[in-house]
């Protein structure tokens, strides 16, 4: 039998704070799906612990001052009191029985141990803090949706390690990658998004109406999810690549180029990144050799012009790297001429690999549809095979992967997530 009492603002002090018992107060709203799931649990536990704890119910829509005083922002929120004061942590949003029971026992026992994990409930959970994720955050937060960005590193994505971004509109073509994403990050924060970086992601459950992300420290519950986890540099998968990682094998010229002052280096690849970073490396290296398996570059014409007019750069088309050789550090590579399948050795001090990227989608394996390469398949509104879950940026299957297209994806995904939430009739957190 429920022992929950209804309390109004004016009687709160006398009946709750001065009751002489520890208290659990649930703030609820009308028309709130979360409340209708939490309330029965709350009522049930009140019959079990009603002798040792006061259980009260406050309608937050009517008792606004009281809700504000205890920082109640979501329905439902359970606040605990001991000796007339707030005690332990507040539970907001979906709360499972074991968790609530654990806290009740803690509060009765005058301690607060079982709530070391933080719990966050949000409207839009964005995975990945690169350009697409941050753009989603800007749009969603501006729509007054409670928006949280989770990143397993510092927010920034691949752009953070791009020395200079020439083709992003409105930046005069001279902005550093890290400045560009820092601007986006600031904009997202200014609009009210929360960014939780440095999270160790444990797992995600996309089934059910509330999606759940577990990290080492936090549990996130979200009404909609935008996957913007991006991609990582693709590996050559040749002998020596792993052995010499950081010892002559590199994937970031802006990071490690400076170690090759007056040296001979090889750049592998033929896209924008390979061609632009080859030019960047001539700041340090005496000679840069670009090795590409096709007979032409796919980089922009302007980037190619820069490369071909640079006297320190040599290009080997129709050539593949077969192995990377050395002792403590890289000393050379074995190359193959694709025209005649002839292999030969070439001395080099370092090799920078820019052969595209691979999607970071392993976390969602078996839960959403991807193509054979792991890229997430979406419809034109960027919805994945799971309702309420969207994908944006490099992690998505598409033809063109640029910062501008990542940003475009980010805005589409956020707007579609907002429409999804509106159609599903969710109240904003």
């Amino acid at each position: 039998m429920s022992r929950v009492i209804d309390i109004r603002e004016k009687e709160f002090e006398s009946r709750v704070l001065k009751s002489g018992l520890p208290a659990a107060v649930i703030f609820y709203g009308s028309d709130c799906p979360v409340c209708s799931s939490v309330m029965p649990v709350f009522e049930h536990l009140s019959s079990e612990y009603g002798d040792r704890m006061l259980f009260a119910r406050v309608n937050r829509d009517i008792n606004r001052e009281l809700a504000k005083k205890y920082h109640v922002k979501a329905s439902s929120t359970i606040v605990f009191f001991r000796d007339g004061r707030e005690f332990c942590k507040t539970l907001s949003g979906y709360t499972r029985r074991p968790e609530l029971k654990c806290v009740i026992e803690d509060v009765i026992g005058n301690k607060c141990e079982c709530l070391e994990r933080n719990k966050t409930e949000c409207d839009v959970l964005i995975l990945g803090g690169g350009p697409s994720g941050l753009t989603s955050a800007i749009y969603a937060a501006r729509s007054k949706l409670y928006t949280v960005v989770v990143d397993n590193s510092m927010a920034g994505g691949q752009v953070a390690s791009t020395y200079q971004v020439a083709n992003y509109p409105g930046t005069n073509g001279i902005i550093r990658g890290i400045d560009l994403v820092n601007n986006m990050k600031k904009q997202a924060l200014d609009f009210g998004a929360r960014i939780d970086d440095m999270q160790d992601i444990v797992g995600i459950d996309l089934s059910g109406e509330m999606k759940k992300l577990t990290t080492k420290k936090n549990d996130y519950y979200a009404r909609s999810v935008i996957i913007a986890t991006g991609a990582t540099p693709r590996k050559l998968n040749v002998e020596g690549e792993e052995t010499f990682a950081g010892k002559g094998v590199h994937y970031c010229a802006t990071c490690d180029g400076a170690f090759y002052y007056d040296a001979d280096v090889i750049v592998v690849g033929g896209g924008d990144a390979a061609v632009e970073e080859a030019v960047f490396l001539t700041r340090f290296a005496r000679k840069v050799t670009v090795v590409h398996r096709r007979d032409h570059f796919t980089a922009s014409k302007l980037a190619q012009e820069e490369l071909f007019k640079n006297p320190s750069i040599e290009v080997l088309f129709n050539t593949e790297v077969k192995s990377i050789n050395g002792k403590d550090f890289v000393t050379g590579v074995t190359l193959m001429d694709n025209n005649n399948n002839r292999t030969y050795e070439k001395d080099t001090d370092g090799i920078f690999i820019y052969i595209g990227s691979q999607p970071q989608s392993a976390l969602f394996k078996g839960q959403i549809e991807t193509d054979d390469n792991g890229y997430i398949i979406t419809d034109e509104n960027l919805q994945t095979s799971v309702k309420g879950v969207f994908a944006a940026g490099d992690v998505r299957r598409k033809a063109v992967r640029q910062i501008t297209t990542a940003v475009a994806d980010g805005s589409v995904a956020a707007i579609m997530a907002e429409r999804y939430l509106a159609a599903a009739g969710h109240e904003k957190t």
């Binding site: 510092m154 953070a160 390690s161 440095m198 950081g246 970031c252 990071c255 490690d256 400076a258």
Partner: protein
């Protein structure tokens, strides 16, 4: 605790690593290896490799921005 960060100015992971240490209120010496070849050699000798950042925490070498390893060493 003595902490040294070997970095280059154009390397974002170096910036991240330094921001992270600053956030944790850990004082550190920042060495720009692109401007100091002797220190670059010292870093290669200590770490056995040529990628930045390299972080020396009381003689323990952390390669790259390996947050778990950094946490482990600064929480000891």
């Amino acid at each position: 605790m003595k902490v040294t960060v070997y970095s280059t100015p154009t390397c974002p992971y170096c910036v991240m690593a330094k921001d992270y240490l600053a956030e944790k209120n850990i004082p550190f010496e920042d060495i720009d290896v692109s401007a100091d070849p002797a220190k670059a050699r010292e870093m290669i000798q200590k770490s056995g490799q040529r990628g930045v950042p390299v972080i020396d925490i009381d003689g323990n070498i952390v390669i790259g921005f390996d947050r778990n390893r950094i946490d482990e060493l600064i929480n000891q």
